[in-house]
Amino acid sequence: MSNRRLPTQKAVAPSARDVAYVLGAMLWVDGVVVADSLPLTGTPRERLIQTLHIMAAHYEAGGLPPKLFYFRFKTQQLMVIFARRAMLAVLMPMDAPLVDIEISARKVVSTAHLKGSLDERNLITRALRTAGPSVPPQSLALVTLTTESLAIPSSHMTWTEASQALENIIAKVLSQAQAAKLIATAIQRKGIDTTRPADAATVAEIGQELTQKVPSRPIRASLEKEVAAMVATIR
């Protein structure tokens, strides 16, 4: 028996940074499309948008909003993620790294309503700014126009907006109502005047207080990163 060691083969994971793992995406804020790179045009595109809204409305008929729809077809995957004011649809090929894309998509949708919140390092943000592979030239022009509106007009982040952004992050591990209550309690305890613009240090402090309540270390670390990314958008 030979003692010679066989060379080990390391599995190379697909890089989530590669925009090729997203075929296209569409982002709505307050019901308005603010970014669009879906590789669909004409009737299929209109029907897809209509179908997504029907699905969301149907789910909401039960009294609570949806958080995520996911459909894995033979050749493509579709993920739709919801936050209170935003909705994001992401179309992926079958080899897309689902975990990484879901994390990136959640980051985008939870803070999409905030000015300057779209982080260029986020693969979903890049995908939203990059037209899909089969988009005809006339639609590329449309994409160019819509990406101009990615920065949603807004003044400094208010405490209401900051609370909402924190709530969207914390609501991934708690119910929306629990997250809202904890944030409201923290704001009240600190005697914050919510009519004034939010300051990054205090928002970070509250975010840290909340994430410390999460027992799971990996989940806590993920939430801390999201809070930090959100705080970084506060001027």
Partner: protein, 102 residues
Amino acid sequence: MNGVIVSCPVDQTSVFSLSPHQKLRSDVMPAVEAVRSFIQQSAELLGECLGAGALSMGMVQGSRFCGAILAQDSSGSARVLISPEELTASMALKLLQADCDE
């Protein structure tokens, strides 16, 4: 679309085998049927737009309920997950596939 999903409370995460002639437990039947109905109808509509082939997995996640279906073969057999937890798509897929391997 029929069935209101969030009115189907479940108290624990469960994965079931479904076959065309199998009867479900009465306590989970409403939730499973609502999920199946929602996903099937959504998949038909989405499939027409995307032209992406047959559905192998569908999932719906809300604040208090998660439902997912993984198709196993063309005979109509499937695995269904219902849960009161908030699961990621990858976690739901993992749970459905892990159960299939048992």
